[in-house]
Symmetry: D3
Subunit: 314 residues, 6 copies
């Protein structure tokens, strides 16, 4: 079972909206090597896991899989912020267009030439479950052979490819909102690469000089460098509420990375950052409530819950 | 952020393996109206939600979306149990075939004629992210128009269709493992249908006699009837660890269902049931560890974690 | 613009339901060379047609495209009849199962082992827009290069391949419902192959002995032989309500087929056969109306329309 | 059976070609909520319909489905006009490039940067069966559960989403050709939303203030406003040639829309507008006839049909 | 540039046709880890290779990629033999059905219940570019990150997974035709796994006990054992006609496999086995030549080529 | 079996990189009518061929299929050259950006607005197995009915459509690298169209004035004209190393083309042009070797092979 906390795993750093950068980030959300894929792959590998003696490996997969749901939440929200309001921003900074079609205006005209038109046409300036070329996410991406060595090897390659792609996206845009999320995910991918590399080390592989892939090159990406200096790539989270995870038996000792190194450690979860809710976009009819419906919504929002209706845990 | 508890949301009732039933259940996991879709649809609707005044609606989506992850876990594990060991069971009950190819044996021969061959060939007798006709899950299934009324209407239709399909699968098999999971999900789909119906009631719709869809017909499905008598369809879980969910402001008062009715209530989460780990399947090379690798795995499993490596919360 | 007549283009001959045959027929409906494809391909070729001097060719495409919509209706209804009631028929002929789940019954059990499980699980024993291997119909099938010679050549190949596949399906089943529809469509595909061959003849090609493809072999398929003797392959329908079609300028003179031959002729449309509406299937929850809803439906059905509400043309 | 009339259901208003707008309109043709989908969904729901007492509901689906074929024809032709000749227009207004490659010219250069390159490369400046992101139309879009309430609920949601998306496209372009077709389809979607809402009203649902979705906002879209003032959203067409449709028993009385309202009425079909045939595009090799082939085509076009070859109805 | 030799890379061992086994082998041809994928992946990695100093690695990819085309040829031909004539064999061994439809016969009836119906309906009892669940091969399978370590790591995992799946198929069928081809490909996959493992060894990785994956278990699969004893897994072919391949600089010394071991060696190509051409299948209309066309074909076949027309190299 | 020669079938003419042209060329590589499709279609038609008397037709398919692999190699390499280095070229011609992210630079920024972002994000500035709209190549493209006349007819249409599309791409760009490869493939498509037309002539068809499609129009495309004057469209290559191909029995005598004509002739293979290896792209992490790994690679490259390791043929 899973629970949710109303906090984001990393901060959304504010900057101007940038729909082209948002589209590039879609690769990290709905792409073949993005967060939806890592999340689903690890959840399936956990469910279908065989061999009770290998529980620490199962728990490692389960823990990383759970973290990936929070990564989906983080990068999805980042994309939503990067697309949100972009027509207004780009088209008419001094005179906002808030009412659709007024005077023949075309408040969504930018959708024709920037990023993925579906961000404006199918969604209401929000994230989509597709990659940066518009291909929908596919279940055929999930790899789960059932063979422990193969699954771990694939996962290491998957994390490395995800990091490689995020480094390339970082080189495509200087937008601060995009780069902050990219840097965080680059370092966490590094942590997961370390985790799978350690798991394979425990099975006898010596990685030599090959890891990390690509080489970290921390001095080249300032936001990444800052996080590496904090040791974020050396920490594994269990996200295990009942603390039954044995993943820490694998993720311990020295990091396998040829460059830098450091001592690995395991924590339950990070503290997180506040979540907020996006503003209305009347030109997208989202949420599209007129005065009458808005009044009904507010009645619900202002409702005081009777004791009997409160969650049991409160 | 999300956390995991090592408990299943419902019990896996034991029965014989049944790969054909397992394949039918794939529709409920990876089908167009299955649990992967509800999970992803509600998570995207939560991330992209607009309008801070409508927070109770966002929290309702977030909470149901979180529950759906546990449903993926439940139905995935059920499918894994229904496929697991079936070749041995069906083919040679008295003399198990544990060593692949010994004496020209074909321990996986049943894969050619039962259910989805990929259960044995691509996976190692485990669940797959596909539907009952073998189509991989697709991101194009996710609906998130951004318009609150439309999204709620779609969600109601989605839950009803999911329940309709599970009732049909229930009529296809008498396997107890399959039926127990189906019955649980049928009743929870009913709870979610109630939730979306109440949300639309709060916006002014009177459903008349149309709900539930299909009609509950509890007396016809014994396992369903038992759960309805416990009121499981009248309870909404927030799965909100920090108890900030305001979903209870919507899911309250009388149930919208024309038949039966009852008072709705909100809880944090159910108690859950123990999870176990599947046995090895040497004929699938899963996990495929020989004596040397197994020894290394056991060394890891027996490792006592030093204090410094323990999760921070312990 | 298009209009509809409540008559089928050919008769649905009664026989026992046969879900495996129904699944084979899906290739002729939703397959790459089935009726949905011919229909869409010709409608797109008509819409995008260039060159007013070539109007007879446009009208030929338009007319055949319109006929294909009626073919979709015919083969779709045939599939619906072949799947309809099959569980009852196969499973418990003497004691029909009308109430789902009663006494642990599994009225839809056959769905696990016959044809496409989606016929029972996603649809309610009806036709689906997929091929015989379960692949959904795809817009990528449509060919419309804009070059007249290429489009005509492709269409000839398309009709011939469609006929080839229907001859193969005919050899897979002796079911009379299936064979009657197959025979009709085989002969109409022959008529359309003749039409495209004549169009290419008018551009200078001499087909020699190559047509028809495959060779008609009428004596081998009794139902086909009967229709050929009636000359159904020598008649082109315009399905043009305002009689502006100039397709008859192409489809005239001698048939291009090496075997048999005959004089081609053009008519507006055939007389057609009565359509009926399928019975209810309570085990599929289709239409799924309980007593209360049924009463409301009957009130609507019995309603006498006031003059003002009648169609203008009546 | 279906017949065709050589008239368009609405006028194609002339304006400059605009390939980016054409690409946006593709969502309305081949998108998940476009006209190909509504057409196919209603035709399948009609073919597979169950319950003879519910014939007015079947006829409603059949009639709207037939109208959607004409909508495919309208929006497809609109897209063809918006892409047609655009390279010439944009690239070299004063000196047309009619001969491919002459002097190193690149008459199709704009294809590299505007809309969907397939409009110029795969098609010959015509409509394609794809959405605005280039995804081919898929049979998996079609929803037909067989449960009457669910099918009607889905259809209402489908029409509303189609209208929502067309309103968004309207806000993306000021091109008159695009807007005229969009406005017409927006109002007809409204009419169909009214039809499904009335059908569900007849089953007991009271829609309160929620309809229409999105709110009509007629004053914001001038072309839409004009059509609403003519009551086009209050008229249902049967497109039933033999006048056997009983759809008028449902679509009658007051419109369900909270805003505006009015009395519903049923007609057979609109009068329609003339269709024309697009000009040749030598740079696309469409139709690609050289002098010799053109002469042969003209011989066919000038042919006078002998009496025996004329359509029977003439 | 590529050349072809009319010899198969391994022998097709004769046995009865077996369409269910043929369908399982489709995974090895058109599956996500089959021969079409390895072939395409290595050809793309060769074309897009970067770094002239790393030429031996490029040549290794190029050579294995070339071998994979011959594997496609081998497994495709094997599938064709396993489906060929199966209806006749299974249905009416004593009285062959050679004429389609004669006397109401259904010579292709088995297609409804065995393997993939498309083998009989879309193809003419031949191989298809799809996997064992009927999914068409997809370009999205190809992995080519451009990073040398990642590409080699992926390739090792790909060969291992291909071998794992072929071992599972081996356990599904005792058909000699199927097993002979499977055994050959299992051992060649092992050779390629060795090649990529050596390439990564040259970059510093020590594989410990993890390879091969899965463990060879030669004693369990007699046909595999025979080939291993011949050292077929220790030989790399360059398939380089101009002998410019430098792949032998990598594939040399001791094999990386933990079990067995041996000295690696490089050869240009194997000697190969004769190819034949399948017999006609009149019930499939393949090749579908009647007496007239057959006569024309024979005229071509008997033609003596004049000197001027002979290939330059002869 | 297949062998490789380290030479390209045509020269890559140097010019500036041009990612938009590269994307258009993707249609010719991974599109529905591109080289991957012709290659796979002919290889499958060869493997599944029926009828030993028709061997010349099998050999024709086999020979053209083999040539298409070299075409994949040619157009793939062309695309790689057209994308390679484009960011550097476009963004900062005077001051190359070699180190990723240095000083906040965005060396891959152009990826957001030019061609297919996957060229930079998923690949490392290389060719992809997708079409110009980003759709992955699909096995469903392959046509192989098994009927000889139909397969030949389809192949003729396929070559003509491929040539039509390449002529359109030629009209989109004046880039010399792109045009040289396009011109070569246009003329070879013409040769293949001639081959299939001759094969159908041998079965009795007289093509009249319809071929070639589209009309060659040599004078309009200078690079094409040059190659036609060399008679490249009149030469068929067998690519048959053992010279057993009998394709020359079909491809002989006069060309079927209405315009121009000439005498057909058969050769084993062209001489070819040198292949090179692309330079490193550090901003893509391709091949991504740091100093340590580079040293290891060079050790391998400088290795002198011992006699025992040399290919057998040397």
């Amino acid at each position: 079972m899973y629970l949710h906390v109303q906090r984001l795993i990393n901060e959304i750093v504010p900057d101007e909206p940038d729909p082209a950068a948002a589209n590039a980030l879609q690769e990290g959300l709905g792409g073949q090597f993005g967060e939806m894929r890592t999340m689903m792959q690890y959840l399936f590998q956990s469910m279908n896991f065989r061999g009770a003696t290998a529980k620490p490996y199962r728990d490692l997969l389960q823990g990383i899989g759970t973290e990936e749901i929070s990564h989906v939440e983080l990068i999805g929200t980042t994309i939503a912020r990067l697309t949100d309001g972009s027509p207004r921003y780009k088209g008419s900074a001094t005179k906002p267009v808030d009412e659709p079609g007024k005077g023949g205006a075309t408040p969504l005209a930018d959708a024709l030439s920037m990023g993925n038109i579906h961000h404006y046409l199918v969604g209401a300036q929000g994230a989509l479950p597709v990659d940066s070329a518009g291909n929908p996410w596919s279940g055929s991406y999930v790899y789960n052979s059932g063979n422990l060595v193969l699954d771990l090897l694939y996962n290491l390659m998957l994390e490395s490819t995800g990091r490689l792609q995020k480094c390339r996206i970082y080189e495509m845009t200087a937008n601060k909102t995009a780069r902050a999320t990219l840097a965080y995910l680059i370092v966490r991918d590094q942590a997961h690469e370390n985790a799978y590399a350690k798991a394979l080390e425990s099975l006898g592989i010596d990685w030599g000089r090959t890891l990390p892939i690509p080489k970290t090159d921390a001095e080249r990406f300032p936001e990444v460098k800052t996080l590496l200096e904090q040791g974020l790539h050396l920490t594994q989270y269990t996200f295990s509420l009942d603390d039954l995870s044995e993943a820490g038996k694998i993720f311990r000792g020295e990091a396998p990375a040829a460059v830098g190194g450091g001592t690995l450690r395991t924590e339950q979860m990070p503290k997180g950052f506040p979540m907020d809710i996006a503003v209305e976009r009347p030109e997208e009819f989202a949420p599209g409530l007129d005065a009458g419906l808005l009044e009904l919504v507010q009645q619900t929002a202002e409702l005081e819950l009777a004791d009997a209706d409160r969650p049991a845990g409160s």
